[in-house]
Subunit: 351 residues, 4 copies
Amino acid sequence: MAGNTFGEIFKITTFGESHGAAVGVIVDGVTPGIEIDEAYIQKQMDRRKPGQSSVTSPRKEYDIIHILSGVFEGKTTGTPLFVNLYNQDMKPEAYNDIQNSFRPGHADFTYLQKYGIRDHRGSGRASGRETAGRVAGGAIARKLLEHRGVQVVAYTQEIGGIPCQTFDEDAIERNAVRACDPIAGAKMIEKIEQLAAIGDSCGGIVECRIRGVMPGLGEPVFDKLDAELAKAMLSIGAVKGIEFGAGFSAATMLGSEHNDEMDSDGFLSNHSGGILGGISTGQEIIFRISVKPTSSISVAQKTLNVNGEEQEIRTIGRHDPCICPRIVPVVEAMACLVLEDLYKRQAANLG
Amino acid sequence: MAGNTFGEIFKITTFGESHGAAVGVIVDGVTPGIEIDEAYIQKQMDRRKPGQSSVTSPRKEYDIIHILSGVFEGKTTGTPLFVNLYNQDMKPEAYNDIQNSFRPGHADFTYLQKYGIRDHRGSGRASGRETAGRVAGGAIARKLLEHRGVQVVAYTQEIGGIPCQTFDEDAIERNAVRACDPIAGAKMIEKIEQLAAIGDSCGGIVECRIRGVMPGLGEPVFDKLDAELAKAMLSIGAVKGIEFGAGFSAATMLGSEHNDEMDSDGFLSNHSGGILGGISTGQEIIFRISVKPTSSISVAQKTLNVNGEEQEIRTIGRHDPCICPRIVPVVEAMACLVLEDLYKRQAANLG
Amino acid sequence: MAGNTFGEIFKITTFGESHGAAVGVIVDGVTPGIEIDEAYIQKQMDRRKPGQSSVTSPRKEYDIIHILSGVFEGKTTGTPLFVNLYNQDMKPEAYNDIQNSFRPGHADFTYLQKYGIRDHRGSGRASGRETAGRVAGGAIARKLLEHRGVQVVAYTQEIGGIPCQTFDEDAIERNAVRACDPIAGAKMIEKIEQLAAIGDSCGGIVECRIRGVMPGLGEPVFDKLDAELAKAMLSIGAVKGIEFGAGFSAATMLGSEHNDEMDSDGFLSNHSGGILGGISTGQEIIFRISVKPTSSISVAQKTLNVNGEEQEIRTIGRHDPCICPRIVPVVEAMACLVLEDLYKRQAANLG
Amino acid sequence: MAGNTFGEIFKITTFGESHGAAVGVIVDGVTPGIEIDEAYIQKQMDRRKPGQSSVTSPRKEYDIIHILSGVFEGKTTGTPLFVNLYNQDMKPEAYNDIQNSFRPGHADFTYLQKYGIRDHRGSGRASGRETAGRVAGGAIARKLLEHRGVQVVAYTQEIGGIPCQTFDEDAIERNAVRACDPIAGAKMIEKIEQLAAIGDSCGGIVECRIRGVMPGLGEPVFDKLDAELAKAMLSIGAVKGIEFGAGFSAATMLGSEHNDEMDSDGFLSNHSGGILGGISTGQEIIFRISVKPTSSISVAQKTLNVNGEEQEIRTIGRHDPCICPRIVPVVEAMACLVLEDLYKRQAANLG
């Protein structure tokens, strides 16, 4: 209700502020008897953490996870699986200067309006650090989906106006921006480094492909597969839009162009993005999200302080000039959470 | 769970198939003591119904609503408000030809895959007729939001590649396509009529503006205001994408461009679309959705029947060549449902 | 949230006031492809309706049900199944005298305190009539449980201090009070008729036995099988207590007496009532509820009116002097709803 | 869904096994800006912990709580409040003997049936230790209820057949069994010590009184105040029954006796237990629960092992011969959770 739980049957509840004692997640509804180990989860955490390369924040969040319940002798028990991460390398004093100011593009203003109180240190719960719990929970979902034959892969499609021209899946984890086109990726890195040098930031587009989903997944009418994925993606801080299949270009297509015809080999096209009437068709599910430029920049900007007085502000600190590379594992995690939950909902429907 | 309920506190549960006996909605969580009458709801129903103009389906769904509970002596009682609409002017026999075929772009295939059974008549529950219950429930939400000083207005921004060039709010309900630019609207109508003549269809873009929302609405972290709106909009059948504020264009902006600065007069821009960290800023909330071209077209297309045999199909019937004009009231209804629910959740948070 | 929905996956949402236009239920989460007909549901409705015998209210509620959605060609489709009952034989003017008074033992006072408004006609939604929707929904659950091999049977164990001495299951539906001992049943009827003659009422105890449930049903830790049944039963208007297995007598037992030992034939006793740690053992599940005497009596009683003035009140009307016989099908319906929902939750856990 | 979350708006999610690394709770939906400190919560934890007196288990669970999120500078922030307790003084090897046996009266058998796997150490999640998270969460609720003027007090009413004869509220926390009658309490202690000497156990009755609740709390029709309390209490491991107000004795009363009359001073009696139609009347809310004798006894009993072979078992260990004294704070915690949640739901209804 207060918005810290995601999912209906397979669900996660996250807690923790950026510069509090810890962040973490309770994963509930886990299938019992599944082998799981901390290394499997840690691998996903390491993809999310800062400090991976020259284009990400140099902060050191080691993001060491600890499973404190729900696993016995290496297998899930069906009881809540709790994953804790103690915060480290915190510099809350770095935020003293801004504790009474509203940083442009940040949630400082809205959190204070909503609650009448806020933990200003590193954005509190509005920090990207909150996604650590999501990625840990998503790793459990990913493990369960492996048993179902489902693969989820996200990657950078565009940064700073530089789009990928090819789709080379093997390249994704081999370049610092997780682009699906290594040549475009190199240009993106260059662009980010130029912007970092002048204290500015840029946005981009992340795409996600999901394979191996059986036809029939998704709950009409309100909990459509695309509706649930849209909610999941828009719940990530920097995301400003989402489109499925033909997406916004569908607006300029004719019905005779957009409809996906079928013959005995299956669908002849995939403008729908693998979803019809909110239910998976069995084709590849494909969507794209728009990622806004990082709000924390050291370029001077006008703002107000908590007393309503005008100020100029520069957000000095250790921030990602483009968040796309680190959003990729979060997108995958959220997609895994949606899918595993809908699989369990379908099992309930028919069970 | 099975996806027929929307909302957490103020919530609707809809039922009914396109060519079954009735469609309708139970609205639960209604504030007691609010004056309400059937005419108020009927007005919204009439905006949604087919047969309004030359560019909408000539079917006659009179959509006469009946409130069967939850109102006593003209006021809400706080108990469930049930609105029923008996189906009329049904021609289920019109669907006999297609009962064993999968119409391209329709949910025929996926419903059968999901449930192993489907009501083929007029798409059953995947029909646009399902939105009647949403609009009825949304009208109750709209009434409650009036008391909060909130206005929600949606309109066609683009159809068939023809965009609006101006924003004339008064024009919206005065042209058949609900465009915010009457000159562009006239061109859109012409375009639709041309396509209707050849049995084809087109898509478009619908925009929505919400005014009067207090700062502080929306539940971080998963139930962000934009996340809830995204889910609501993607739950509408023909919608393929959504973007807030700068949306997909944020992907090519710099942080110094995208961040909305503040001075003592308030925000200096609204690239965020009125939402920061998932919480309303108090500015106008603005989003756009992509609407795909209507799937039902009489152009011949390849498909399969339920036995997996190849077929050619033409969907003959009374369909909208462009669904944008009739999606407008549905978009408003869903937005109202999201907002009223989040207002009540905020009351609970602080209460 | 507002309390009109019961269940998590297989769930019902009821609506309607006693003397409004209609009452009914939306049943969601129904397994698709199950044969169902109105006669099956009607049979359960007829067990609940007033006017069945000399010991129940002479009101004529024909309780004719209509399925308006979710069934196609005699089978469930997996979409919401809506059951409507139009109210008949209403005499709202019979309540004019009491519209401004708080009847002792009734919810008149508390509804007004809660909502600031109330539909006084026949108790509005606090009426026993509200259970019609439950019994309709419970009949769907019962049908699904038949396929699982589960039987639910409730009966009167005691009325007016007269307990059953034997357990004759075949006798239950053959005597007007639904006692499991026909000789005690005859005495109960006599007692009720005596009380009816002087305008008073009495309470009783209803017992329920559930057979055929697999071991492993129920969700620890909060949604234990007994916890869910307890909530379900206490949600019925006149119920004041519940006990499982040894129940309140467990308070005076030793551990060595109460523990159910096992040998190779299974459990040697059933003090637990078929539930350990909130999970079914596979034994018969057994519980008892306490039913208070009907509040509506024509004996003069002191009360207040809505202006806080003292009054004497006699509730004249067509009321059951003992509600036990008509609560029996409601108890069964609620038990069926709990069980079917937990079966689907278990399918989700493992699915 | 999997049953580890309690509440709708103010809600707790607990995790942890008896002999795992930790147990704890995420409390979500906490009102922001409320002063809270660890000592306040610790006080309630200390009432629940073992080793308090001669009549409780000599295990040393120090139950030191740590708040890891949701509190900033001594005040709640409205974000999830996470309370962790590391397990200490664990002796999992003490359970080696029973890892393959089903202890009579325990959930060993049912957990294995449900999940196909179980953490046998100290009953895993079916342990009384699981209630630590509840008491921590309940302490937060209690703090919020203090601001509303609500008091919740539970106490032992009967142990081993020895009932309290008086109600001395001040005596409750001054005797080891938390009896409301210190003389009866002394006899209860003697009885427990006798049973402990022979390795047996006994049950009892715990009563709870709630004062200061406004009229109007509780959600008809399914989420009645008594229904929610019943679920909460039956979710506690050893509880076998609950009754409100006159409870089971209502079954033998006449309507003219049971109805609570009113005059200008208010209600003249409280047979309803402070609840009418599922909504609070403003009177004292009163209910009683039946507590079964502790299952862990060293008296020899017949059972099976996991291979279905017959065995004799004695449960040697550090167990409470009567759990009533330590259930008292758990009953209060669960009651506080129900009340605070319903207060927030009422705020949402009207908000």
